[in-house]
């Protein structure tokens, strides 16, 4: 699904990531950790084609990202759900509309989608806030809405950047369960987080691998987690 081969990235200064190789196979579950500023978000951006690697090759669904047109990238994004670290919404649309945005943009708004939408909003606990504007949500509510938006298209891959940074422990576990459920349905999941407790909780339920960025390299973390 996602393949990186000797990938490097720099924002213009020194290299942030060097010689990173990784293959995410369908149905795998990964965590990504590393200190603040080490490049976790950057890594995820490479994985959904928002950034183009400065060296090496990134292949999404077997296609080289460098060779994709803008519309090609748009098509691929419809198959990858992304939870951004600073959850981004359209401020003038309600929570429900924002969660349904991927459906609307891809022209798949009708029929079963609506029912699915209501279920999903209930799942992330936003039913009482469904008609609120994003600015009227609490921090944790925003993150849950972002997660709902990421999974509404039931994408093949789910990339989540600190999805539980603003959420209390009980709710975090609930969201983790949702992600594990998706994974069991065959979706590929990659979660960037600094919350080691979350990783430990997941490991007891699913065969999750933990990747760590340190010194510009991507390493498999030891079994101490």
């Amino acid at each position: 699904m996602i393949e990186l081969e000797n990938v490097a990235y720099s924002y213009g200064g020194g290299e942030l990531l060097s010689d990173v190789s990784l293959k995410l196979s369908p149905g795998s579950f990964h965590f990504l950790t590393g200190p603040s500023g080490s490049g976790k978000t950057t890594f995820l951006r490479l994985c959904y084609g928002q950034l183009i690697a400065t060296a090496g090759q990134v292949r999404l669904f077997r296609k080289d990202v460098r060779e994709l047109s803008r519309d090609g990238v748009a098509g691929i994004r419809q198959r990858i759900g992304v939870v951004h670290q600073d959850c981004q919404f359209l401020d003038h649309m309600s929570v429900t509309e924002n969660i349904a945005l991927p459906l609307m943009v891809s022209g798949r708004g009708g029929g079963g989608a609506a029912e699915n939408l209501v279920d999903l909003i209930g799942w992330v606990g936003l039913t009482p806030r469904a008609n609120a504007l994003p600015a009227e949500l609490s921090g944790g509510e925003r993150q849950r809405a972002a997660l709902a938006r990421a999974v509404i298209m039931s994408p093949d891959i789910l990339l989540a950047d600190e999805p539980t940074g603003n959420i209390d422990w009980d709710m975090s576990l609930r969201l983790l369960k949702l992600l594990i459920e998706l994974n069991r349905m065959g979706k590929t999941v990659l979660i960037a987080t600094h919350d080691l407790n979350l990783i430990r909780a997941a490991k007891s339920e699913v065969a999750a691998r933990v990747l760590r960025i340190s010194n510009r390299r991507l390493q498999l973390a030891g079994s101490d987690l």
């Binding site: 928002q50 803008r70 519309d71 748009a74 098509g75 691929i76 994004r77 419809q78 992304v82 951004h84 981004q88 919404f89 359209l90 401020d91 003038h92 649309m93 509309e97 945005l101 991927p102 609307m104 943009v105 891809s106 938006r149």
Partner: protein, 295 residues
């Protein structure tokens, strides 16, 4: 036009934040500009008519004055008529009757001038056709065949008047072009500032997999529609204002019919679609450029 402007916002247009002021600004700009365009258009068309009238009336009538002793008068008059008949470019020629000459002279002599007894010259009014005649050649032929005949062909009047009218007409068209260009520039800038202000919206849409054409389309439709609505308003107001301008048949007919006449009524109706077209192109360019600029 229906390809350019949807009858109302499509559902997908909701992705563009209403951002009231930019939209209002666009409508208002389009409206104000349409209003001014109507005026400039009216001015241009009126001056166009004026120039045509001056060009035709002044250019096409000349006068030949024959001063000769009474016994030669008839012979010279016939000579002049002969010359005129064989001169290319002359539509008709007519000797003024005594009554007409009396009217011309009345302000100076009163109504009782005994014109029959006076050595009054004969006047021949010459009307040229659209090609016009060669006045220098005519003058030489007259000198040869009717020495008492003097051609007053109004040339020294015609040229500056016609060129003045042409200049006014050009001024009107330049004003229209300037206004259209400023409208395009303002709408481009308004669209661009709307797009720039919505960089985050564009980022979100890209994140969820929207194609650029989808994003651009929503902005373009929004702005085209608003420009059209504004231009309709401005045109209606401008046309009303022009229509309500009091007519005056004076001042060398300069002000006559600053309003639209006949087929010219088509022109103001062309303004809103043109404004929408300008807005469409301007926004599309702005959108393409901005979308290319935002990573």
């Amino acid at each position: 036009m229906s390809a350019l402007i949807a009858p109302r916002d499509k559902a997908s247009d909701r992705i563009v934040p209403p951002s009231g002021f930019t939209v209002l600004l666009t409508s208002f700009t389009a409206g104000a500009m349409a209003f001014l365009t109507v005026f400039a258009l009216a001015l241009s068309l009126a001056t166009g008519r004026l120039a045509d009238r001056w060009a035709s009336e002044l250019a096409q009538t000349s006068t030949i004055r024959i001063s000769a002793p009474a016994e030669q008068m008839d012979a010279q008059l016939r000579a002049v008529e002969r010359v005129l008949q064989t001169t290319p470019g002359i539509a008709s020629a007519r000797t003024l009757s005594e009554e007409e000459q009396r009217q011309l002279l009345e302000p100076w002599f009163g109504p009782d001038l005994p014109i029959e007894n006076l050595p009054v010259p004969k006047l021949v009014e010459v009307i040229e056709n659209s090609e016009g005649y060669d006045s220098e050649g005519l003058r030489q032929r007259l000198a040869a065949e009717a020495p008492g005949a003097i051609l007053d062909d109004h040339t020294r009047w015609r040229k500056p008047l016609v060129s003045a009218a042409d200049r006014l007409r050009m001024l009107g068209f330049v004003a229209i072009v300037l206004i259209a260009a400023s409208t395009a520039a303002m709408i481009t800038l308004a669209a661009q500032s709307a797009l720039a202000a919505n960089a985050q919206v564009i980022g979100v849409l890209r994140l969820v997999g929207a194609r650029d054409s989808y994003i651009a389309g929503a902005f373009v439709r929004r702005f085209t529609l608003r420009a059209f609505v504004g231009a309709v308003g401005g045109t209606v107001l401008g046309t009303l204002a022009v229509a309500l301008l009091p007519d005056s048949e004076v001042a060398g007919n300069f002000l006559t019919g600053l309003g639209f006449q006949g087929a010219h009524w088509i022109w103001p109706f062309a303004i809103p679609p043109l404004a929408a077209l300008v807005a469409h192109l301007a926004t599309r360019n702005a959108a393409r450029r901005t979308l290319r600029g935002i990573a």
